[in-house]
Symmetry: C2
Subunit: 190 residues, 2 copies
DNA sequence: CTGAAAACTTACTAAGTAGTAAGTTTTTTG
DNA sequence: CAAAAAACTTACTACTTAGTAAGTTTTCAG
C-alpha cells in the first residue's frame, strides 16, 4: 500500500513537525496522524513505539536541518548580512504559515517533556545560538555587522525576538513580526 | 468544609495560573486541581463549568494585574528606569520559580484555544505592549531612556526578549535570562 | 431557628488517549 | 519462486479526559 518503505515514516515525521508547530505537542494524537495519512493508529506505533520517540526524532530532524544550514553558510561569498537574513528567513517562512518555532512550541511544554526530548531540545538550542553567535562574531570582525553586546548575548536577543515574534504574529498580526525583522537588520547593518 | 465561600474559587484560579505557567494549558486537568485542593472534580466544575471558562478567567485576572501595575506606576516620583525595572521584575519572579509568562504559555497553544480565550489573550498582549510603549515614550521624552527604534517597536522587542527569555532559562539555565535583563537595561539607560 | 441559596459530594457517561498482541499483506532478498 | 523481513491492519486494553445529574451538606439572611 505504501509506495516506498520509508515514505510512511517520513510522512509521520513531517506531519508530526507540522502539528507541533501549529497546535503543540500535547494537542495532537496518533489518531490525528493516522487519519491524515489514511493509515491505522497502530501503523504509527510501528514506526514510533511511543509518542516520546516521535518527538525525539522530530527534534533530531530539526537539529540536522540546522547543521545543514550551518554547512550551507560556510560556502565562500556569503556576506554576514546574508547569513543573518537566511536565519531570519526560516522564521519568516514559519510565520507565513501560521506556525511557530519548534523551540518555542516544545519549550513552553518543557516541564512535561520526557527526558530524551529535554536533552535533544537543549542540544538544539545550543546549536542555534552557537550558529548565530559565530555569524555575529565573524561579521563584527569583518566590519559587516555592528552591535554593542557580546556576540553570545546578541545571539540570544535575536533568537528570543524571532521565536517570540512568530508567536506574537498569530495573536496581534504579522506586521509586528515584520517590524521586528526590519529592526533587527537595521540594528546590525546600520 | 470550605473556610470562606470564595476561598475555593480563588484557590482554583491561583492553581490554574500556576499550572499553566509551569506545565501548560493542555497539561493539567480538573483532577489535578481537585487533588491538590483536596476537593472533588465536580467542585471545580461548579465554579468553572468548562475548562475554557477557567482559562478565560485566568487570563482576565492577569489582565487586571497589569491594570494594577499600570496604576501603581502612575504615582509620581517613579523614574522611567524604575518603571521598566518593575516590568522586568515580573518576569524575573516567574523565572526564579521555573515558570513562564502566561502569554508565552497560552500563546504557543493559540490555535487550539477557545474563541473566548483568544480574544482575552489579544486584549492582554495589547495591554502589556501599550503599557511598555507608554513608559518608553515618556522616558525618551524626559531623557531618561535611550533607544533608536519607535517606542512601539522597542516595546515589542523588549517583551519578546523577556517572554522567550524565561522559557530559555528553563532549557539552558538562568544566566542567559539574567544576561538579557542586564543587556536590556544597559541599552535603555546606557 | 428556619428556609433558601451556595457549595459542595457521589456516581456516572461518553469520548479520547497511548499503547499492545496477534494476525495479514506487501516487499525484498537469496 | 520461496523464505524472510518489513509494513502494515484488526481488535483490543487500561487509563484519563471533560463534563453532568442528582443528592447532601454548609452557610447565611430574615
Amino acid at each position: 500500500m505504501a509506495a516506498r518503505p520509508t515514505d510512511t515514516k517520513e510522512s509521520i515525521l513531517r506531519l508530526g513537525m507540522e502539528f507541533i508547530q501549529t497546535y503543540g505537542y500535547h494537542s495532537f494524537s496518533y489518531a490525528d496522524i493516522a487519519k491524515e495519512l489514511k493509515i491505522k493508529n497502530a501503523a504509527v506505533h510501528y514506526h514510533f513505539p511511543g509518542k516520546e520517540d516521535l518527538l525525539a526524532e522530530i527534534v533530531e530532524q530539526y537539529i540536522q536541518r540546522y547543521h545543514e544550514l550551518a554547512r550551507s553558510l560556510e560556502k565562500p561569498g556569503i556576506s554576514s548580512r546574508q547569513k543573518i537574513q537566511a536565519f531570519i528567513n526560516r522564521y519568516t517562512a514559519l510565520c507565513e504559515h501560521g506556525k511557530i518555532c519548534l523551540i518555542g512550541s516544545v519549550g513552553s511544554d518543557y516541564n512535561t517533556l520526557p527526558e530524551k526530548a529535554k536533552v535533544k531540545l537543549t542540544e538544539l538550542v545550543k546549536l542555534v545560538l552557537g550558529l548565530v553567535e559565530k555569524v555575529l562574531r565573524e561579521g563584527k570582525k569583518k566590519g559587516e555587522l555592528t552591535f554593542s553586546e557580546s556576540a553570545r548575548i546578541k545571539s540570544i536577543l535575536i533568537m528570543t525576538n524571532l521565536a517570540a515574534g512568530v508567536q506574537l504574529a498569530r495573536i496581534t498580526g504579522q506586521q509586528d513580526y515584520t517590524a521586528i525583522c526590519n529592526s533587527l537588520m537595521k540594528q546590525l547593518t546600520g
